[in-house]
């Protein structure tokens, strides 16, 4: 028995270190761009506030035509090629530049820094939320193996995409000063490729996740109570929650569903210019929306990652081992726990679990929780 116990402890430690290093990467990714601001002087806005494309105010016989030309009205051209436009001039690009170099980089960048700082401050102030009354030692299945696979697949993709995406957006401000043009260019070429190839995989993962988990996330009346009580993050209230609490539902619907689909759709538009319908205007707006939604999503992600790991004792196990302590379940997802118990699921102690595992996976209710660790 003891031997088994030690093995379990070692396995858990391994798991923890893996998760921690992953978190470290995430945090670094967030921190790196922000940290850059400490080194480098923040760029002055490079463009003039709003550029005028009308060059002459006087009226002249052809001014209408030139005005149209400046507005991006199409003309006739015999040149052909994927990147040939029939416009004389367009201010689409100017919008793109102003938004990207303006709000997107400044507000977006500082937003992420602020979220990160706020969470750090919160953690330092409140510390980890412990399981009330300690662990019971008895656990219950929360996530099945395929669900955990899906989660971590998406998580890893998300992190890669976030790092590479942020690198493309902030790398010039943050990384070039550190590593120089050439090294950064090499990295950026890799990052750009990685972003473009991981993106579609991630899209599939997110779509599967939406389909599979939507049913857990249908808003219920008790979620309202959960919100009124602030999710129980502060203080010792234990607002009611089903399998998903209110906060998780927000993460699901606002994050995964709304921002996720936005990012996916805009991403695919930018990724497959060979589909043919994309004008320069559509593409540039897609990129702006893509980046904006992604930054918002990353902000939410920071919160999600914090609560799921550092912020709450016992939460991470649900996604790593798949089993959660009964005490944690009662504390955070009381309605779900009741439902599960009512459905006939019995909490199992570590000893029983190992015993059972020795005999091979039991047929019936309990999935092979520890497989893969």
């Amino acid at each position: 028995m003891n031997k088994h116990h030690d093995a379990a402890v070692r396995a858990r430690r391994r798991w923890r270190s893996m998760v921690w290093s992953m978190m470290a990467i995430v945090f670094l990714a967030m921190a790196l761009p922000s940290a850059g601001y400490l080194f480098a002087q923040v760029g002055e806005p490079t463009g003039e506030p709003q550029r005028q494309f009308s060059e002459q105010r006087e009226t002249n016989p052809r001014s209408d035509m030139w005005r149209d030309g400046r507005r991006g009205e199409g003309g006739f051209t015999t040149q052909t090629g994927p990147y040939v436009t029939n416009q004389l001039m367009t201010n689409v690009g100017e919008n793109y530049r102003q938004i990207r170099q303006g709000p997107l980089m400044t507000v977006g960048g500082w937003f992420l820094v602020a979220v990160f700082l706020a969470i750090t401050a919160f953690y330092l102030l409140t510390g980890q939320k412990k399981i009330d009354g300690g662990r019971t030692g008895r656990t219950i299945v929360r996530w099945k193996a395929y669900e955990r696979f899906l989660h971590w697949f998406n998580a890893i993709c998300f992190i890669i995409l976030a790092i590479t995406g942020l690198s493309l957006l902030f790398g010039r401000t943050v990384l070039i000063p550190i590593v120089g043009h050439q090294a950064f260019s090499s990295y950026a070429e890799f990052a750009y490729g990685a972003h473009n190839f991981v993106g579609p995989a991630f899209s599939v993962g997110v779509l599967v996740m939406i389909v599979l988990w939507a049913r857990h996330n249908i808003p219920k009346k008790h979620d309202w109570v959960w919100f009124k009580e602030g999710g129980g993050i502060i203080g010792n209230k234990h607002p009611p929650a089903g399998k998903m609490n209110g906060g998780e539902k927000v993460w699901f619907w606002v994050g995964v569903f709304a921002l996720g689909l936005t990012v996916i759709i805009t991403g695919l538009i930018a990724l497959f210019p060979n589909l043919g319908f994309q004008t320069r205007e559509i593409m540039s707006w897609a990129l702006i929306i893509h980046a904006t939604a992604a930054i918002l999503w990353m902000g939410l992600f920071l919160g999600h990652a914090y609560i799921g790991t550092l912020g709450t004792e016992g939460a991470l196990e649900g996604m790593t081992r798949g089993r959660v302590d009964v005490a944690w379940a009662k504390q955070h997802h009381d309605l779900w726990y009741e439902d599960v118990v009512a459905a006939g699921e019995k909490p199992v102690s570590e000893e029983e679990l190992h015993g059972r595992q020795q005999q091979g996976p039991a047929p019936g209710s309990t999935p092979a929780g520890e497989r893969g660790t």
Binding site: G47, E48, F53, E55, E58, N60, P61, R62, M65, W66, D68, G69, R70, E73, G75, F76, T77, T78, Q79, T80, G81, Y83, V84, T85, N86, Q87, L88, M89, T90, N91, V92, G93, E94, Y96, R97, R100, Q101, L168, L169, G171, R172, I176, H181, Q182, F184, S185, A188, Y192, N196, F197, P200, A270, L271, F272, P273, N274, R280, M283, S284, L287
Partner: protein, 196 residues
């Protein structure tokens, strides 16, 4: 200091495409990549006017502003060039450029475009002058030989003129005075700002 500019005189441009083929000829630009193109407004209708468009070598270049790898640079005489070794083919400059100048050798799925290619004002790139690398990546370097972009030098009607802003503004001003009309320095404000 000289400041290189392009100017296309719409009263003279006849859409003969000499600028386009001159560019192809000088730099062996591959099929499908157009460093310069001619746009006709009101095609086939009274008031038809055409303009030859390429990179205008803007004073405050939007392409350079949005480039994630900062591969653009401006020479002391105002020519906007880029370093194909740094370029990652992300396409942002294409979205930012008001003139649609940046071109890429490919357009395929997963955003693979290849290195961006655009008008160099016949001034090559960062490779050593007249080296085979410069020739292959950017085309010839005429400016270093004291010559101007071939598109402008070969323009059928001298509609497209290139060179030091003061000189070509002078040439153009004389024409406008002869014509007794008002100037139509198309694209200048967008490219070079208010001080023409």
């Amino acid at each position: 200091m000289a400041r290189m500019k392009f100017l296309c005189d719409a009263e003279r441009c006849i859409e003969c495409q000499a600028c386009v083929t001159a560019c192809k000829n000088e730099h062996e630009v591959p099929w499908g990549v157009n460093r310069r193109r001619v746009i006709v407004m009101n095609d086939g209708r009274p008031g038809e006017k055409s303009i030859s468009v390429a990179c205008m070598h803007c004073t405050d270049a939007p392409c350079a502003a949005v480039c994630p790898v900062d591969c653009f640079y401006t020479t002391a005489d105002g020519i906007v060039l880029h370093d194909k070794d740094l370029c990652i083919g992300c396409g942002y400059c294409f979205y930012a450029c008001p003139f649609g100048a940046p071109q890429y050798p490919q357009q395929t799925a997963f955003g693979v475009r290849g290195k961006m290619d655009k008008c160099t004002f016949c001034a090559g790139g960062p490779e050593p002058v007249h080296s085979q690398e410069e020739l292959t990546k950017y085309g010839t370097n005429r400016v270093e030989e004291g010559k101007l972009p071939l598109c402008a030098e070969m323009c059928a009607t001298k509609a497209l003129i290139a060179g030091d802003g003061n000189v070509i503004a002078d040439i153009y001003r004389k024409r406008v005075m002869t014509r007794g009309g008002r100037p139509q320095t198309w694209g200048w404000q967008a490219a070079y700002g208010d001080d023409i």
